[in-house]
Assembly symmetry: C2
Homo-oligomer: 238 residues x 2
């Protein structure tokens, strides 16, 4: 069902009801997605820090990059409880994230801030949605790598100030936000089609309670609604 | 004596015998150097991570960048005990570090590894040398931001492997190491000339025990000797 080879002699049950191999495949995929997402976000934020307009902006962005890498390390350590090397778990998801970041390459400091805000917010919502369908140890991990509110406050402040200084910026950034979500949904659909174990984990077809297809549809609706609220918080129409 | 304005109403004594304003000027300069050094190292390592040849190399380099930024945060927090904003403390040292990094811009992944090894090693030696001349809380901080041995082991392994694969690489990297130290000493001399409070802290002219000029000469000799040992550890002639 999954291309990830299951390690032999693995510890059977790092959480409750996690022994089923399909569950393990699905949760390893999920952790691989999260790990590579954090690593890719580190890379993008570190690049943004280098082009920050002021030294305080550089420090704030470097701090965000550092937080992402610390999250990556936590996910990597958790994957060891499944006897899986994070490198193997991330492998199937390079292409989707690298394509996303290439297609959604920010051309200005403000676009970079909006990318971080939109991407982190979307990821956090997704983590909260799926937390109910994973074993307790994985749930605790997933909830612990949610975005820090202090960071989003910083971004909201910077973006709103830029729009106040030059209102035309708002229209351009709103367009940018729509493009980001479009590209994210495109990549998410590809991943879902390629990774049946991951889709199975969410849709409840792996001998555990999960979402049915209608519920997945409702989840996507909630994700997009929350994105709209986030754009409004930045002062942008979505 | 120093361009850094002393904050009014500052807490008088964050350590023992730290009340003397010349000492404070010197130690704030020292912490500013360390902070900007860590921040600049974060930037360089983050850039190196983006061009790493393999995903494990990328992760290892991103981990080193993250450690540097965590050190930066610790120094920033310690500066608050002197009522000094890290941004103000770093300001006099941008130019020296930025010039160093511009002059010593690695053109390959291996050069980048050698830069990290040489730069971190040099910094760690310098921190150990000066630890005796600062107040206990600052000493503890300075010793806590020394390089992690696991990271240097990783670099030693990668560089030695590259030389084993292609011996000509050794000669080029040895040249590179010499250039790094030459540029570092040039910048250090500029900083010493510009910042009398910092030089005073080390030379004992600020009402605290310090090094005399002959002792500073011996310290520089030790720093260069240790650099030679580090290059040998990489398998390079210095």
């Amino acid at each position: 069902m999954s291309e990830i080879p299951m390690p032999t002699g693995a510890n059977d049950d790092p959480g409750s009801a996690t022994g089923h191999p399909d569950y393990r495949d699905g949760v390893v995929d999920l952790l691989g997605v999260v790990a590579y997402g954090e690593l890719a976000a580190f890379g993008r934020l570190a690049e943004d820090a280098a082009s920050a307009p002021t030294l305080p902006d550089q420090v704030m962005t470097a701090a965000m990059a550092t937080r992402q890498f610390q999250h990556f390390e936590r996910v990597r350590d958790h994957l060891w409880t499944f006897d899986v090397d994070v490198m193997d778990a991330m492998e199937p998801f390079h292409r989707a994230f690298d394509t996303y970041h290439a297609q959604a390459k920010a051309k200005s400091w403000l676009e970079a801030l909006v990318s971080t805000f939109v991407g982190d917010g979307f990821a956090a919502d997704f983590y909260r949605e799926i937390a109910a369908y994973v074993d307790p140890a994985t749930r605790e991990l997933v909830l612990s790598v949610l975005t820090d509110e202090r960071e989003t406050d910083y971004i909201v402040g910077r973006v709103r100030q830029a729009i106040a200084d030059e209102p035309a910026v708002g229209g351009r950034l709103a367009l940018w936000g729509r493009r980001l979500v479009g590209e994210a949904l495109t990549q998410a659909q590809r991943v879902a089609a390629d990774r049946p174990a991951l889709t199975g984990l969410l849709s409840g077809s792996v001998d555990r309670p999960g979402l049915d297809l209608a519920a997945i549809g409702r989840m996507l609706t909630r994700l997009v609604e929350n994105h709209t609220l986030r754009m409004e918080r930045l002062g942008l129409n979505s």
